[in-house]
């Protein structure tokens, strides 16, 4: 018996921790590839996956070094090599999204008319090259109708309806999952539109529908996002994120 587990008091699992688990699961069975989490909770999730069920994952320090979870450098990945690695496909990135639609088209460039935006955001960044070359998941810390929209204002990350028009060029396209503070979503539907894959405990289907600006596919039975194991909880709370940075993205 693992003695360390007995030491962990069984505390209530917080929403932010279900989000960590849901993000970590994106990298299950990914093998020896680079995990590129963008955002705090995806970063905690990637490190959790690396420390538990996906030990072959590679992680960066956010700059040019590949590092072990304890920060020990194990490789060099400057931007020029990172971009080549993206094209080679040995990477699963989890990006943010200011807007996302039912087919997984993502926008981080601007809100409103591109020619003269109402609100200028980051720019397309690497979303076009990411989505055409390696699996791209998304993390949305505040699920709302402002983010989950009928139509995004500028397609940066390419969705399933768009790639259907370019089957050859887009043969490596895949959006494994979208994680929000309410649940997990995928595109396992006949027309590759978004489906509710699991609800975080405490969230209702109505809550998700209310916060989503398009018609979601909701299966008859929606599973719950899985519980963290006691060891995973310990790793999240004591090893990976003792400063509770995850609460800055999801406050409960």
């Amino acid at each position: 018996m693992d003695v360390s587990r007995r030491d962990v008091p069984r505390m209530d699992v917080r929403r932010s921790e279900y989000c960590v688990i849901a993000c970590a699961e994106a990298w299950r069975d990914a093998g020896e590839i680079l995990a590129s989490p963008m955002g705090l909770i995806p970063s905690v999730g990637a490190r959790l996956a690396r420390l538990t069920f996906a030990p072959d994952l590679l992680l960066t320090d956010g700059e040019a070094m590949l590092v072990r979870p304890d920060g020990t450098p194990e490789g060099w990945l400057p931007y020029r090599q990172h971009l080549a690695l993206v094209s080679g496909g040995r990477r699963h990135v989890m990006m943010g999204a200011s807007q996302i639609d039912r087919y997984g088209n993502q926008n981080i460039s601007c809100v409103g008319d591109w020619a003269r935006p109402k609100r200028q955001l980051l720019g397309v960044r690497g979303a076009p090259i990411n989505t055409l070359n390696n699996p791209t998941s998304y993390w949305i810390p505040r699920h709302s109708r402002r983010v989950f929209v009928e139509k995004v204002d500028m397609v940066c990350g390419v969705g399933y309806d768009r790639v259907a028009e370019h089957p050859g060029t887009a043969r490596f396209h895949r959006i494994p999952r979208v994680v929000s503070d309410l649940g997990v979503f995928d595109f396992a539907t006949p027309d590759r539109s978004m489906r509710l894959a699991s609800l975080h405990p405490g969230v209702s289907v109505e809550q998700v529908r209310e916060a989503t600006g398009f018609e979601l596919t909701v299966p008859d039975e929606v599973p719950s996002t899985r519980e963290p194991t006691p060891d995973e909880l310990r790793l999240i709370r004591e090893v990976i994120d003792p400063a509770d940075t995850r609460l800055r993205e999801v406050s409960s």
Partner: protein, 282 residues
Amino acid sequence: MTDKTMTADEVVARLHSGMTLGIGGWGSRRKPMALVRALLRSDLTDLTVVSYGGPDVGMLAAAGRIRKLVAAFVTLDSIPLEPHYRAARESGAFELMEVDEGMFMWGLRAAANRLPFLPVRAGIGSDVMRVNPGLRTVTSPYDDGETFVAMPALRLDAALVHVNRADRLGNGQYLGPDPYFDDLFCEAADAAYVSCERIVDTAELTKEAPPQSLLVKRLSVTGVVEAPGGAHFTPCAPDHGRDEAFQRLYATTPWAEFAERFLAGDEEAYRSAVRNWQEEQG
């Protein structure tokens, strides 16, 4: 052997309004800010700026010097949205060629290799194609028959980069973790100007640092400027990190006020104004 040392103002005197300028670094990292400040002191305008954008773009945009920007993003990294860039875009201040980070790199590579374009599997299916109606695609002549974006060469009239060390001949060295694309910017340009934290003797360059830290070769460099703190407030590891407090000040101060206090004089005046501000903060 030609001594290529010059001042930042002498660099700017060689540039012209209407030029296409590539600016090295990445986001708010190792930006040639002393050269950008010199540019802001001049009356150069109507520029096409090619940059993995940070405060270089923000300042030039705020000062109204940009006619057209080629970029995949503009950010201050620790402050995700560049306020002056945002304001300029939201008022439709200049033309934008918004491309993906990878497309941007292949555009520089095409220019450095004297190719009209390079094929890239990025952009297809995205609105990068909608907002850049001039972008063309190319079909593989081989059996796969795949379609790619033909990313046009991003040829530059001049490149501005900042590195840790250089010799007087233009051999530039980076000592931080990431070279970014500074060598590529220089190779894609008709003239490249390298500022550095310190000019050293050639033999000094490899005394303690490995040979692969020699990023920029003198054959692609026109001028060398010694500019200690020349990346400020962006980082130039390991010489100095990002001045986060000053970056916050930049991002939250109205442009006219910031420019009047910090950019009205030369580089020495800038450094002294920054020191004064830091002393005020205690």
